[in-house]
């Protein structure tokens, strides 16, 4: 067998299907996208080469593009620095309660994660409906005055509302990762730390967290990628509105290509988005590699 794998032809034959899939599914589409990004094609009819005009317009005049990237950044910040710590704390609590209670609570927290995006969006659009949604009814009950906020339509609340829905659905995943990670931390090491005089805080920050570092880095990378990919939920709930306040880049490039018929411009957006996404992923991976080496 070893001899077989040492044969270069065999190795090449085994690698070719994977490379072929990558070339056809990624390299060629990106190549086409790059080509069309240099045109003024509307998706129908003839087109002209416009050079870097689309890129210049996006980078210098398109405030919606920058807002959509900013919203992606806000979502990454919230998932990494708010959702994850909360999920970690809850996972630590669940690791300490009885197995039966823990199982029930884990199932409960994970339910949103198994629901489809369409169902989750419809659910929250109805809950947040200003006229008959349950959220305003409950708030009216507690405040004693009628609350008629259009959570998804009001410029002051729309972005917060869609981010809440995204976090609500994603929380279960983070919790599951952290809980699973915590269960793999050897109890003996934690007990040894306590015998050495470490309190619970020190045990977690100096012993448990370093052991869980690979899990935490995986969760952060997934958060960054899923924040950048955010599309369906926004598309189905606000469509990026009101105005462009809840616009995310993946939705925006779709709308430019297929709603505004600016196919060339949409492709330029997608190329820039690929560059930003790859760059951000590399930065995050590099950060965790460096931190991992320090740990």
């Amino acid at each position: 067998m070893k001899k077989l794998f040492n044969n270069r032809a065999v190795t090449a034959a085994l690698v070719v299907p994977g490379i072929a899939v990558m070339v056809f599914a990624m390299i060629i589409p990106i190549g086409f996208s790059l080509y069309y990004s240099l045109t003024d094609w509307a998706g129908i009819g003839t087109f002209h080469m416009v050079g870097t005009q689309n890129y210049l317009e996006i980078l210098t005049q398109d405030s919606t593009f920058w807002r959509s990237l900013g919203n992606v950044g806000i979502l990454i910040f919230i998932t990494v620095f708010i959702q994850n710590p909360l999920a970690f704390i809850l996972a630590a609590v669940l690791a300490k309660v009885s197995t039966r209670l823990s199982r029930w609570l884990r199932t409960l927290y994970f339910i949103p994660a198994v629901l489809s995006v369409v169902v989750v969006t419809a659910l929250w659009v109805n809950i947040m409906n200003p006229s008959f949604g349950i959220l305003n009814k409950v708030l009216s009950l507690f405040t004693g005055m009628p609350v008629m906020t259009s959570w998804l339509g009001n410029p002051a609340t729309a972005l917060g509302a869609v981010i809440w829905i995204i976090v609500w659905q994603g929380f279960g995943w983070a919790l599951l990762f952290f809980y699973t990670g915590l269960m793999t931390v050897p109890v003996e090491i934690q007990e040894a730390a306590i015998i050495d005089g470490a309190n619970r805080w020190t045990t977690y920050t100096r012993v448990v967290l370093p052991i869980m570092f690979p899990i935490i880095s995986a969760v952060v990378v997934i958060d960054v990628i899923s924040s950048m990919k955010q599309m369906e939920l926004i598309f189905l709930s606000t469509g990026g509105g009101p105005g462009d306040l809840t616009q995310f880049t993946a939705v925006y490039l779709y709308q430019k290509a297929f709603v505004a018929s600016q196919y060339g411009y949409g492709n330029a957006l997608s190329i820039l988005f690929v560059v930003v996404s790859v760059g951000l992923t590399l930065i995050v991976q590099r950060f965790f590699r460096t931190e991992g080496e320090v740990q």
């Binding site: 129908i44 006229s131 998804l152 339509g153 606000t238 105005g243 297929f258």
Partner: protein
């Protein structure tokens, strides 16, 4: 004997397979996902009749809501998978790019001239002297209302903008949503702005002059129209979820008796015959003319009307000839069936009947009383898709209070400039 029977059975099977293979399937795409009532039901009836008359033909229908269907057409064109027959829109900004790409099969105009189309209906589908699409509906902008909810709230039918604004508080006091529309997709907001601008100026031609760049969209009439639209939102006339309520959601709120008014096109004549809604609603639904301004130049009988919805054959499809045959059949059957089922306001002349719904009679009356019509499509569809996207987005921002009426007009003026240069 057994052997003979087996051979015969095999022959029958082979004949069946051969027969099944010989059947031609026409693909038809439209924006009518509801096939139980309205235009969707009319289409299905015509499809069944056409299949019965042409035994070797099958029709595969795919339907999406309005906006997703428009996007789907663009995706299909890019992927070279456009269905054989497509329900679409005759607006130049949408239809002409398909014609220029030679995707639309020219039709025999003399044949359709004999089918009783209203003046201007077929012409809205003529480009470069050739007929490319068959018009389906005559569209106008009206306000539908629920008579029972008006009675419950003690509100008289508004004839002026001021009456409309004043009615909001009365409806809200009774827990009734005053008015709904598809605010999420924003185009009804733009058409409402078109109407308000005309009510200010009394001149439907003003908008076209701005598109032709003879005047600017920053003129006072346009700004005043934008102010009036924003005021409708601020004064609570529209539902609080206006900007997240799509076509189906807003229509259902009205049909379920939760909203008193629904500002929409005359293609919704089927509301009074829609079995999905209660009999009480169907008995109480009616329409009134878009209100005038007390200090405006526009008159109640100025009617914004156009021929929008059409149907065309994919010239590059393998069933183009069969598609043309289908359109010719549809042209004959559409007006009768659409009016019989009160599913739409056909672009062909119809004969009023005593059995017509109250709503249908009112819409016919509004049309017949019109002394001035817009003679062209809404401003969303007078330019290219990029402009349409820009004006719709700006209308959403205006209604959300993100921009002022002056900024709205400046934005669309810049978009019109950009479109004109292209």
């Amino acid at each position: 004997m057994k052997k003979t029977l087996a051979v015969l059975a095999s022959l029958v099977l082979l004949a069946g397979v051969a027969g099944a293979q010989a059947k031609t399937t026409i693909k038809l795409g439209d924006n009518l996902p509801d096939r139980t009532s309205g235009m969707g039901l009319v289409f299905d009836t015509i499809n069944a009749e056409f299949k019965a008359a042409n035994p070797g033909v099958d029709i595969a229908v795919e339907s999406y809501p309005d906006q997703p269907w428009q996007e789907k057409v663009k995706i299909y064109v890019a992927a070279n998978q456009l269905p054989d027959i497509n329900k679409y829109w005759s607006f130049p900004g949408m239809f002409k790019p398909l014609i220029d790409s030679k995707l639309v099969q020219p039709l025999d105009k003399p044949y359709f001239d004999k089918l009783g189309y209203m003046p201007g209906a077929l012409e809205s589908n003529v480009f470069g002297g050739k007929l490319y699409g068959v018009p389906l509906t005559a569209d106008g902008w009206v306000v539908y209302y629920n008579k029972k909810l008006f009675k419950d709230a003690g509100v008289a039918v508004p004839t002026t903008y001021e009456d409309l604004v004043a009615s909001a508080a009365k409806f809200r006091a009774k827990g009734i949503i005053p008015m709904v529309t598809d605010g999420k997709d924003q185009w009804p907001l733009v058409i409402t702005w078109d109407n308000l601008t005309e009510r200010v100026s009394g001149d439907y031609g003003l908008i076209q002059k701005a598109f032709d760049r003879k005047i600017k969209f920053t003129q006072p009439e346009f700004v005043q129209g934008a102010k009036l639209l924003q005021q409708l939102v601020k004064s609570g006339v529209f539902a609080d979820d206006l900007l997240v309520s799509d076509y189906g959601a807003s229509r259902n709120l009205f049909g379920q008796g939760r909203a008193a008014m629904y500002v929409m096109g005359t293609w919704e004549v089927g509301l009074a015959a829609d079995a999905n809604f209660s009999q009480e609603f169907r008995d109480n639904v009616d329409a009134f003319k878009f209100p005038v301004l007390k200090s405006g130049k526009g008159k109640a009988d100025d009617f914004m009307a156009w021929f929008g919805g059409n149907i065309f054959v994919n010239a590059t499809g393998k069933n183009a000839a069969l598609g043309v045959k289908y359109l010719q059949y549809l042209g004959q059957r559409w007006p009768g069936l659409a009016w019989e089922k009160q599913a739409g306001y056909p672009a062909q002349k119809v004969t009023p009947r005593d059995s017509d719904t109250v709503l249908a009679k009112t819409l016919l009356k509004i049309g017949s009383e019109a002394k001035q019509t817009s003679g062209g499509p809404p401003s969303t569809d007078r330019s290219n898709a990029e402009f349409k996207d820009a004006i719709q987005k700006a209308a959403g921002e205006l209604c959300a209070g993100i921009i002022t009426p002056e900024q709205f007009c400046a934005k669309i003026d810049a978009a019109a400039d950009k479109a004109a240069k292209k």
